[in-house]
Amino acid sequence: MTTGGHCTAADDGILLDVDGLDITFGQGATPFAAVRGLDLRIGRGETVAIVGESGSGKSVSALSIMRLVEFGGGRIAGGSLRFQRRDGTKIALEALSEEEARDIRGNEIAMIFQEPMTSLNPVLLIGEQIIEAIVTHQDKSHREAAEIAFEMLETVRIPNARAIMKRYPHQLSGGMRQRVMIALALCCRPQLLIADEPTTALDVTIQAQILRLIRDLQKKTGMSVLFITHDMGVVAEVADRVVVMYRGEKVEEGPVETIFAAPQHAYTQALLNAVPRLGAMTGTTAPAPFDRLAYGASVQEVEEAVPPRPVDYGTPPLLSVRGLTTRFDIPEGLFGRVKSRVHAVENIDLDIWPGETLAMVGESGCGKSTTGRSLLKLVDAQYQSFTFNNANMSELAAGDLRRLRREVQFIFQDPYASLNPRLTVGFSICEPMLIHGIETKANAMDRAVWLLEQVGLSADHVHRYPHAFSGGQRQRIAIARALSTNPKLIIADEAVSALDVSVQAQVINLMIDLQRRFGISYLFISHDMAVVERISHRVAVMYLGQIVEHGPRFRVFENPHHSYTKRLMSAVPIPDPGLRDRDRPLITGEIPSPVRAIGDVPPPVRFEQVHDAHFAACE
């Protein structure tokens, strides 16, 4: 067969020139066209971002540049991909043999993926994985490669790099793993780095660190970066030029400033509208839905403009807990003696009023999810007092737990994992009603249909299985199930974190809408300050198992008092390319560990009153 066509041309500064790229999946007369006629140019040292929602063809385009798309069952059906090699020759990537492609992969074009855990080999030491990549592509001895690996880990700012080389991937945190992935990608000094949603799975605070790292490294090495993301906020932080894709086609392209200042295409505008902007809610007290989201006919919107209902703080709170503490024993040694404990939640007080949204924010591992689970008694917790709906839940008689789990429902981060894959969504929605005897079998399905319609899905979805839905639809199903028992409170644990930004905005709008219509309270657990600003009435900031600041949302956001709150807010990407190089106090390093030896109890937090209902921990 043909090999990569070599032709020398004058250096025009263009590293990669994609022309009319078509990618299809499947065989037969009508294969599915994932990408149609994509044109893309990446200059030397340039950062180009491809933006679009899941299924827009952005990742597939990137995989075709690496010639990896064939492994997923795809095919480059047309178009050309011209790549300039280090020695100046131009090659046609689409015509390379598998052997020639391997020489390019990892060597001249490198890639980092979304999920750093699954892209590292779990049974190999970190150091060995980097050394292997170097030895494969460069004429280096194992010892020389080890030295380069060490330097690379230093470059990506991994503390104590020598020790880290002798660790396994599971011993590192998500942010650390992504740094290792970047070191792995850069160890052969590639000309082009493809970053496929590299920060989507990370905390906002870690995301800010990684984005800054990629930018610094690019300045240092002069490589080009192709950045793939669904988040316009991230784009504003890194890109020089932006390509917007929608359903396999490029709908808009331009310099990043132009795209943000004057987006031409309606889809780009909708994408920009969906980005939660910190400060967008300044001057308001109640949550407000996003505007003008609808683009295309993908999801039917539930918009009947229900007026917001004010929260009456004069009434007693719906849920009130004092001194909530959850600790997990860490058994050690042969006999499982407990020498230390994870202090996941440490002596916190919570009040949630009817019809209000209380947001809990903080980084991974700060105990916010455990707080939600403790309230439903999914984990063992202690407290001084616990009242729900004027009933004392401290004693927890047999019937109390059932009533609590009927009136408080839970929505999980990963909607796919939270739905039993072997049950139809209709049955999953019916199950809580049947468990609590709210409906008979005959009527339950009617109500499931009605609930699906309330969340913007249709009646014929009841008999389908979870795998037949998109991520956003699955979260709608999970919300429908949570609504099935007429709950007074819904605990939403990172309920929108795993969703595309545009879908995330739709789900937030749905939650706000449902609250206005049915007067439900939410405990909204999230790490994303910008999302929290949108949806909440009140905010509690959590750090290492304790609340460090709480108060009405507008007070906390407009006048953050605690230094941790300020740093959390500064980590949120700002969808404005002009503010990219702002000086901001980033949270550096790792999230501290909440593991403490037995008997080592952290001192209770002392609060100072900042304003009426706004309290911050004394520092």
């Binding site: 789990r405 839970f410 999980f412 994992a417 319609e453 299985y465 795998h467 219509r517 049915f518």
Partner: protein
């Protein structure tokens, strides 16, 4: 106060309430090959029960004039060293072998699955007791354990079944316990608990079906090996009477004539065992696919 969610709007097209079991049958009906595989042992049994109507020989009709005959129009599968018709013996043996294989493995599977489910779900001392006992059972080679049980209970068909069932229990318990341990951690189980589901609902509706895939595959493989184990016991005089028309016993007995050129004595019982095991394997594959909506639903 608030507009209640209970005011369900009238739905024009009333959807039927579909139970998970009904959905399973609907999907199973699409697994054509598996249905064929299920039909073959069933047909064997039918042919066996109807044999007196069309076969001129019983399994124990001796004919010393025609011993060790090859296939002929009269004896389709030939005759054995006593001149007994092998086809008749095979058909009679189908009843016996399938009965032993199916009943013993089913008994072992039911007990093992329930024990494994409890051990995995409750953990702690329940787990420790159940799994230590099954470790002890595991420590014996299967056939040795069976011999030991026969030694206590005495030979005979029922005792063979008990013996084979007993050494199937720990394997099933292990498989289900492993699946339960991982599914117990899954988010949808936590979601069910958060919705107020009882332990019973969580165990039998949310966890058990998830472990059934590997159980069913193992079940089908186990039927084949159980038929062989039962045959080995029979051969050693610990199971059914050696002269009984049972596939494994026929195979063992025919071994002696293999070098004498009478290959059909072992070939046909072997073929019967092979076919039966293959059918159960294909059936197992089909059942597994039907249990997993992702593989089966379009």
């Amino acid at each position: 106060m608030t507009q209640s969610i209970e005011t369900a709007a009238a739905v024009a097209d009333k959807p039927k309430f579909k139970t998970p079991l009904g959905e399973f049958w609907r999907r199973m009906s699409r697994e054509k090959l598996a249905l064929v595989a299920a039909a073959i042992p069933a047909l064997m049994l039918l042919a066996a029960f109807a044999a007196p109507l069309y076969l001129p020989f019983g399994p124990d009709t001796y004919d010393y004039e025609n011993t060790l005959m090859g296939s002929s129009l009269l004896h389709w599968a030939g005759t054995d060293e006593f001149g007994r018709d092998i086809l008749a013996r095979l058909l009679f043996g189908a009843k016996l072998s399938l009965y032993i294989g199916f009943v013993s493995v089913s008994a072992g599977a039911i007990i093992g699955v329930v024990l494994g489910l409890f051990a995995g779900y409750y953990g702690g001392w329940v787990d420790a007791v159940i799994m230590r006992i099954s470790d002890v059972l595991f420590a014996f080679p299967g056939i040795l354990l069976a011999i030991g049980i026969i030694a206590i209970l005495g030979p005979g068909l029922e005792n063979v079944i008990i013996a084979v069932a007993t050494f199937s229990v720990p394997a099933f318990a292990r498989i289900v316990r492993g699946g339960t341990l991982s599914l117990k951690q899954s988010t949808y189980v936590e979601a069910a608990r958060a919705a107020g589901a009882s332990d019973r609902i969580i165990m039998f509706r949310h966890i058990l079906p998830g472990t059934m895939g590997s159980v069913i595959v193992y079940f089908t493989m186990r039927i084949g090996s159980s038929i062989l184990t039962a045959a080995s016991l029979s051969f050693m005089g610990l199971g059914v009477d050696p002269s009984t028309a049972e596939w494994g016993a026929m195979l063992s007995a025919g071994r002696e004539y293999l070098l004498a050129g009478a290959w059909h004595l072992t070939f046909f019982p072997g073929l019967a065992i092979f076919l039966t095991v293959l059918c159960f394997n294909i059936l197992g594959d089909g059942l597994r696919d039907a249990l997993d909506p992702k593989l089966n639903d379009t």
